[in-house]
């Protein structure tokens, strides 16, 4: 027993020493090292299809040829990524545009550096659909009045864009009831009748469709056919200190986005490496559009709608936020 205790105590001391003593590890990587050597950049991403281009770009060597090595760290959503970028644990992160706008309106020192993912500009064939279950009486967004609609985060990009769909269809968006629910649970919740409609991006969209459900609106498209849905960002502090690295990351990401946009088969293939999307769904996925640059006009539009919905008190300053 005594030996056991000694082992436990020794282990604890060891852990305390390594765990508390090494706060420097988080800051490593990402200082400008001049020409020559490789710099490792930690990028906080969400393990969904939106970020396929950086995985593909990494594989294709677009980052390596600029002296960058990406360490892609999957995290559960922006709530974990934004603090990670601010405290220097990640050099770059991936976040949806509305979250970045909200952060900017609160003067959180973030800087978008590259485009993330955009609407496909094709109505009825976008990578996010406002869906209803098989046999639902709801046929158009206007009929969502008084109905329960699932969104992943309240007061974010989903409800703003679904409200716009309802508005465009001649309905009153204030009458739609939104409930919060993670994307993966939405197909089951629709089927079970817990919600009447849901904001489902891929692969939830393909799951709903496979179960006989229908998309009644392409809500991102309704905001703007070229809506910039998400972007890669860094902290203002990091951007000021490492302009060269940020520039290289921007160039490599732009190249990756362009490549991904024109090579859908390779995108589907790379998806199998960091997601577990079943092969039966993989073929049915509607891939998003990956333009090389963010679309400022669409972000402006999203900001106006979000303001109208009361997401922020101060209008975000796009000049400060956008690259």
């Amino acid at each position: 027993m005594r030996r056991l205790l000694i082992c436990v105590a020794a282990g604890a001391v060891f852990v305390a020493a390594t765990a508390c003593g090494s706060s420097d590890s988080s800051g490593s990587g990402g200082e400008d090292k001049g020409s020559g050597g490789t710099t490792t950049l930690k990028v906080g991403v969400i393990p969904i299809l939106d970020v396929a281009p950086v995985y593909l770009g990494q594989k294709k060597g677009f980052y390596a040829e600029r002296g960058l090595k990406l360490e892609l760290v999957p995290a559960q959503g922006g709530a974990a990524i934004v603090p990670g970028v601010l405290n220097g644990q990640y050099q770059f992160g991936f976040s949806n545009t509305t979250s970045l706008l909200v952060a900017q309106s609160k003067n959180v020192p973030l800087k978008a550096v590259a485009n993330g993912v955009a609407s496909t500009a094709k109505e009825g064939a976008d990578f996010m659909g406002t869906t209803v279950k098989k046999g639902s009486p709801i046929k158009s967004p206007k009929q969502l009045e008084g109905k329960k609609v699932a969104v992943n985060t309240l007061n974010n990009i989903c409800d703003t864009s679904i409200r716009e769909s309802v508005r465009k269809d001649g309905g009153d968006p204030s009458k739609v009831k939104f409930v919060e629910m993670p994307f993966p649970q939405m197909p089951a919740a629709l089927d079970g009748g817990q919600v009447d409609a849901a904001c489902t991006p891929e692969p939830s969209l393909a799951t709903v469709k496979a179960a006989g459900g229908k998309s009644i609106a392409s809500s991102f498209y309704d905001v703007d056919p070229n809506l910039t849905v998400a972007m890669y960002f860094t902290s203002q502090q990091y951007a000021q200190k490492n302009p060269e690295l940020v520039k290289k990351f921007q160039e490599a990401t732009a190249e990756s986005l362009k490549y991904a946009d024109s090579h859908p088969d390779e995108v589907r293939e790379i998806l199998t490496t960091y997601t577990k999307i079943p092969s039966t769904l993989l073929e049915k996925l509607t891939l998003p559009h990956w333009p090389a640059e963010p679309d400022r006009a669409s972000i402006q539009r999203l900001a106006e709608l979000a303001k109208q919905d009361g997401l922020f008190k101060e209008t975000p300053d796009l000049d400060k936020l956008l690259p």
Partner: protein
């Protein structure tokens, strides 16, 4: 002592070979195992039936056979074992820190006069705070690293050990304590020979509870924060709509919990081999 044991064993042997073997002496282990296996098989069959018959859609709750299929694939994946290692690292380190700290703090509070009264309300205030409520704090401090898992694991399991240690120390027989004093034993000797053996059964209960809680929190942290480990793998499977894979991983966490509980009980039995509750057969 040895003679007594030998005599008992001989008696048992005799009884087993005798004409009317007592039921309980011969068969309990076997019967229990058989009953346990039958219960588990029944449960699995029920799960299979529930989704085959269509009581719940097999898209959201696949039959056991498909989950087993996914489990086999999962076991063949190198990344799965890395994730398992990450989870176990978080669990073991967190538990070790919590147990050490819990015992040390518990004994100090119990030994130093007035400390118990001073700390009681603070402990009762901090203890009920659910560890998961600290997730935002963990993320702000440590992001998605192992350290944020440790923060949650240690916070949750520390109280289990501390409270049990405090109870254990309270349970010290005052006569034994006074006797030790009158024999002139110093503080350290009294901790070692009186307080520690009296408190140990309680402490071991605390450790066993903490072991289970630590696993729950390690996986929760990975699932919610996205720190590397089984929990994160479950989250990825979930985001990818890979339903059988998700359940397969959930099964793995269940098995892990089972093994940890069995392990903790074994440690408990070893550490308390001398205690009445374990060597129950000679209880008076």
């Amino acid at each position: 002592m040895k003679d007594v044991q030998d005599a008992q064993e001989r008696q048992l042997d005799d009884a087993a070979q005798g004409p009317t073997p007592p039921l309980r002496a011969e068969r309990p282990g076997l019967t229990n195992a058989a009953l346990g296996a039958a219960g588990l098989a029944g449960f699995l069959a029920l799960c299979e039936a529930v989704s085959r018959v269509g009581i719940v859609s097999d898209d959201y709750f696949p039959p056991v056979s498909r989950i087993a299929d996914a489990l086999v694939t999962e076991l063949g994946d190198q990344a799965f074992w890395t994730a398992l290692g990450d989870t176990l690292t978080g669990w073991a380190l967190g538990l070790a820190i919590a147990v050490t700290a819990g015992i040390l703090v518990g004994v100090v509070i119990a030994v130093v006069p007035y400390l118990r009264e001073v700390t009681a309300s603070t402990i009762e205030f901090l203890r009920p705070i659910p560890s998961v409520a600290l997730i935002p704090l963990a993320v702000l401090l440590y992001g998605t690293e192992l350290r944020s898992v440790l923060l949650l694991v240690v916070y949750a399991s520390f109280w289990q050990v501390l409270i049990q240690t405090l109870y254990g120390v309270q349970d010290v027989d005052p006569v034994a304590e006074e006797t030790a004093r009158s024999y002139g034993l110093g503080t350290w000797a009294r901790i070692r020979h009186v307080l520690w053996p009296s408190a140990l059964p309680y402490v071991m209960t605390g450790v066993r509870l903490a072991a289970a809680v630590a696993l729950i929190l390690a996986i929760t942290a990975e699932l919610v924060i996205g720190a590397p480990g089984l929990g994160q793998r479950i989250a990825v499977a979930q985001t990818s709509q890979a339903v059988p894979e998700m359940y397969a991983l959930v099964v793995v966490t269940g098995v892990l919990g089972l093994l940890i509980n069995v392990g903790a009980r074994t440690v408990e039995r070893r550490a308390l081999a001398w205690h009445q509750s374990v060597r129950g057969e000679v209880a008076v």
